[in-house]
Amino acid sequence: MTTFGHFALLAALIAAAWAATAAFLGAVGATRGLQRSAERSLLCTAGFVACAVFALEWGLLRDDFRLDYVYHYSSHAQPLAYKLGALWGGQSGSLLFWSLILTAMATVMVATNRDKNRALMPAATAVVGLVLTFFLLLVNVIESPFVTGPLRPDGVGLNPQLKNYWMLIHPPCLYLGYVGFTVPFAFAIAALVTRRTGDIWFRTTRRWTMFAWFFLGTGILLGSYWAYVELGWGGYWAWDPVENASLMPWLTGTAFLHSVMIQEKKGMLKIWNMILIILTFCLSIFGTFLTRSGIISSVHAFATSNIGPAFGLFLGLVFFGSLLLLIFRLESLRTEARLESLLSRESSFVFNNLILVGIAGTVLLLTTFPLISVQLTGRKVTMGPPIFNTVNIPWALCLLFLAGVGPLIAWRKASRENLRRNFTVPALSGLWMLLAVLMLDPAGYWEKLRSVFSSGAFDGIKGFYPALTFGIGAFVMGTLGLEFHRGVRARQHQHGESLPVAAGRMMWRNKRRWGGYLVHLGVVVVFAGIAGSSSYQKETVGEITPGQSLAIDGYRLHYLGHEVLVEDDHLGTLARFEVSQDGRPAGTLQAEQRAHVNLVFPVLKEAFQLAKAVPPGPDRRRAALAMYRLIGEMEGRAGREVKTPSTEVAIRSSMNPLRPTRFGEDLYVIPLAVDPETGRASVRVFVNPMVNFIWLGGLILVLGAHLSVLPDAAERKRLRAAMEIEERAVA
């Protein structure tokens, strides 16, 4: 199977290289037959890569520990799902997985454009083929997943933290996002090469862009959720380089999605859109590179490896090559209209773009600053999360504000009348919300206002961010509500429909618009969640024994008792709590402090297997306690730890809408240490208000994104019309 995998990879490389070459020849004017050959050869690449993936998965499934990859990322005891998921657990497997996704997308691209876009396809095929060739070169030459070593009885296995349900979903999601931007990028380049810079390239790839943007966004949210439930520090975002790497292409991709609408409607911003898609693709590649190379020290850094120079070269080639091409084609990207007024929909989109790209730029600068600093001054530095917050929160708020302005302000030039008609209600709702939040704690806000003047604007103004977020959020909700109300009322008047029918038909008739509005609503909810959970978080630490209680912010945590367990590959001490919220019983919680025994020591391995064989009951408990004692004894003797700890936090979410002040709140219990003998537990407890709004907003976002990509008859008609005009122009 290993040899099979090797040759499948080699064949895939050859096929991809041929696809790129043939399509390039086709693009510069050779025969049409060459393009067909290139497309077929892309399909072959897909087949070969699939074979290689199959070979690797086969090795993982059959525990073929001769394969280095299987040895490092799998083990006998690893559950089936994680054996399969180990495909993206390590570097070479990830790169292979990347290639697999890209070939799958290439297949769809070839299949859906069989009789369409014959002019753009050659160059687009060449670009996709080139990207594939690069990744296949990496897995063939530098990082092959099929390197073999000696026969080994068992593997090292995935990290305990990676053995988590979300590990199976989050990375593929992110990869779909990263890879998905390749197709819009390829069509953009094709449009530049062929000088067909009309609106066909982005109309054809609108769904691809949405697809990539959607999966990248979902991947980021899933990653935060994973960090929140698994890593056990009570937070969900830490401005870690790897997190930033996924955020940057998402930001520029969001900018692209917006500004392309202006090109569609007005024929403006053509150069800017090209720059955006080039940036987005480059940042996607850069993101993959950051994640896999560990060039910037990060908690995620999986490996320091030798793919760095190759990636740098490729990235430079793509970036500067595309820019050069863009410069040569500037004359065919002339704008058809000009910005007329600062108060217009066009300019609100332009500023939305400016801020999105600006944030992406600062994140890029701050993330790569350590590298720059070493190059320039020879001193190593790091960037803490506070600076990212200082820089980005004000701009994120501006962006949120523009999300309310953009959809309602008039095109070209907003009249006083338009502003008054569309923004009075939203502005009032925003102001009311702001006032309401301020009135919650007038004295505190007065103090904060004074500190703005006394101790410097920076720290003082920070206190107002949450109130501002809620105010601006209410403003955006106001615009959405107004738009909804007007649309529904118009339908009711015209067609005499009932409210739900009118609402449903209105959304269905204009899926893109209402999908977009839903996404905006989701973003508002996410913002509210971030603001609420980061500024109203409460925290306490305590040491309690069974029978004792801990109180925090209306919660009482009554410690019922503890239990010792032997499971899978670890010992665990489980602490059970009875929770009451505002005097009402609120169920039980269990948090666990695990110890993954170091099975390198034969004594421990034997003892652990014996303990696991004991049937459940008091005997099992005694065996587990004996294990703990043995570990303690060995640690004393060897003078080193022979276990790896892992913490399973307990989370209780309040999702009862009847208690609005608690809605979306989490009680988050971290077991810092639990004594297996006495049960004496040291716990850290957080109350995270509104944190579930983040995940809830994410769900709304998913819904909106889905609505906006559903097939739309009117849109299809527009695309066909655009293509006909193009064909006629060419003929």
């Binding site: 390590g90 920076f458 060897a638 004496r680």
Partner: protein, 152 residues
């Protein structure tokens, strides 16, 4: 250049300038930029108490002492040449084990010579690479149970 254009350029430029200013201002502030040094470099340059420095090194084998509170730990950090005793108070990440690559932030207590950390980042130990380097020779843990030599 007409006035409309000028207005757009001024406003756009203003946004970018404001962003730049925030970055510049943020760099000098607490929690922003911090110097990142190895244990040896720290020993050489920072004998006095200098706050806000991040020190990078590995957790020395057999040096971890966890207190029952679950959020206090002391250990020795090393970069192969010099060592630095560290005490830390806070949430201990699961990735914090012997041999792990850690970054601590805090300051040196001149009297005891201990580094008091208020931030501890631990990278998953590069056990995979270490194992890979051993390469041809299977690690001792792979010997079949029962036939292995006694552990130390």
């Amino acid at each position: 250049m007409d006035r409309r254009r000028l207005k757009f350029l001024l406003l756009g430029g203003g946004v970018l300038l404001a962003m730049g200013f925030l970055v510049w201002a943020g760099l000098g502030r607490e929690g922003g930029l911090a110097y990142f040094v190895t244990v040896s470099e720290f020993r050489k340059q920072h004998t006095a108490t200098s706050a806000g420095v991040r020190v990078n090194g590995k957790v020395a084998d057999g040096s971890i002492r966890r207190l029952p509170s679950g959020q206090d730990v002391s250990f020795v950090m090393t970069d192969g040449q010099t060592t630095l005793p560290v005490s830390y108070h806070g949430i201990i990440p699961d990735t914090f084990v012997e041999g792990a690559d850690v970054v601590v932030k805090g300051s040196l207590d001149a009297q005891s010579g201990t580094f008091h950390a208020d931030e501890l980042l631990a990278k998953c130990p590069s056990k995979y690479e270490a194992a890979a380097k051993e390469g041809q020779k299977p690690p001792h843990g792979d010997a079949p149970p029962g036939h292995a030599p006694n552990e130390s």
